[in-house]
C-alpha cells in the first residue's frame, strides 16, 4: 500500500503547483503522491469500475500537469484536482446516463431514517460497522455518493464541494442533507428489517 502520510515535504500544495507549472516534475510527483488516493476514491465511485477508475486517475493528473499554469492561486489544489477527476470520470460514464434522484419529501426521508422511531440508536450502531456503512453507501445513487464522499469522507468545505460538483452552495447543502438522510435510511434498514426501508417500502 502507498502511504501518503509518509510525506515529509514541507512545501505547500500551492508552492508545488507553481513549481510544476515551471516544469519541475519532481514537485508534481509530490502532488500526485499527496492526492492520488482521494482522486482514485472519487473516480472509483463515479465510474463503478476499478480499471476505468484508474484510466480516469491517469487522465486527471496528465491534464493537471499540462494545465498547472492555469491553476488559480486562491483555490485549493485538492478541490481543483477533484473537479478535473470528476469530469474525467463522468466522460467514461456518459453512456450510462445520469440517474434521477427520487424527490421524496424531507419528512419522508426523516421517517425512513428513524426520525420519531422507537430506536434511532440503530442508526449510530450500524454506522460504526464499516461493512454496513459501505453497503449502505453502495445502495445510494451516484449523486448522493458524490456529495457524501466530497464533504464527509474527503472533508471538503461546502464551497469547495459545490465547486467540484458545479452547483451553488445552497443546492449543495440541500443535496448533502438529503443524501445523509438517505444513507441513514439505508443503514437503518440494514439493522431494522421491519423499518419502512427494510420492507422495501420506499
Amino acid at each position: 500500500m502507498f502511504d501518503p502520510s509518509a510525506d515529509d515535504d514541507p512545501r505547500t500544495d500551492q508552492e508545488l503547483i507553481a513549481l510544476s507549472a515551471a516544469g519541475d516534475r519532481s514537485a508534481f510527483d509530490r502532488l500526485v503522491e499527496r492526492h492520488a488516493a482521494a482522486v482514485l476514491r472519487l473516480t472509483n465511485l463515479v465510474t463503478g469500475d476499478p480499471m476505468t477508475a484508474e484510466d480516469a486517475l491517469q487522465q486527471t493528473f496528465l491534464a493537471a500537469y499540462r494545465n498547472a499554469a492555469s491553476f488559480r492561486s486562491e483555490a485549493s489544489v485538492r478541490t481543483w484536482l477533484l473537479a478535473i477527476a470528476r469530469n474525467a470520470a463522468l466522460r467514461h460514464r456518459s453512456k450510462r446516463g445520469r440517474e434521477d434522484i427520487a424527490a421524496e419529501s424531507l419528512m419522508q426521508l426523516g421517517l425512513d431514517a428513524g426520525w420519531g422511531a422507537e430506536n434511532p440508536e440503530a442508526l449510530a450502531i450500524a454506522a460504526e460497522r464499516e461493512e454496513l456503512l459501505r453497503r449502505a453507501m453502495g445502495d445510494l445513487c451516484t449523486e448522493d455518493q458524490e456529495v457524501l464522499v466530497l464533504r464527509d469522507v474527503e472533508g471538503l468545505s461546502g464551497l469547495e464541494a459545490a465547486e467540484v460538483l458545479g452547483i451553488g452552495e445552497r443546492a449543495l447543502k440541500s443535496r448533502l442533507h438529503r443524501a445523509r438522510l438517505r444513507l441513514a435510511g439505508s443503514l437503518r434498514a440494514a439493522l431494522v428489517p421491519d423499518s419502512p426501508e427494510g420492507r422495501g417500502g420506499r
Partner: protein, 87 residues
C-alpha cells in the same frame, strides 16, 4: 411521528436544519432555537444525536480506504513520465 412545536420551532423545521447544525453552519440565533427545541423534544434529541454520530462515523470509517495500491501509483507515475518524454 407526531409533529410538535417546542421552543417556538417545529420538529420538521429542526429536521431540515440538522445537517447545518451538525456542520456548525447555523448562525447563533438558529443554533439557540434548535438547541432549545432539542432540550424539550426527546424524539428530535435522540434522532439528532444519532444522526450526528452517523456523520462522524462516515468521516472516520471511510476516509481511510481504499488505500492506494503501490502498483496503481507506479503505473500513474510511469504514465506521467512517458507523457513527459513525448512532449
Amino acid at each position: 411521528m407526531k409533529e410538535r412545536r417546542v421552543a417556538g420551532i417545529l420538529c420538521s423545521e429542526v429536521l431540515a436544519l440538522l445537517s447545518d447544525y451538525v456542520d456548525g453552519e447555523l448562525d447563533s440565533v438558529a443554533v439557540e432555537n434548535v438547541e432549545s427545541h432539542l432540550l424539550g423534544c426527546p424524539n428530535c434529541e435522540r434522532f439528532g444525536r444519532n444522526f450526528g454520530s452517523m456523520v462522524v462515523s462516515l468521516r472516520e470509517e471511510l476516509a481511510r480506504s481504499p488505500e492506494m495500491q503501490l502498483d496503481v501509483m507506479a503505473r500513474l507515475l510511469a504514465r506521467l513520465r512517458e507523457s513527459d518524454t513525448r512532449s
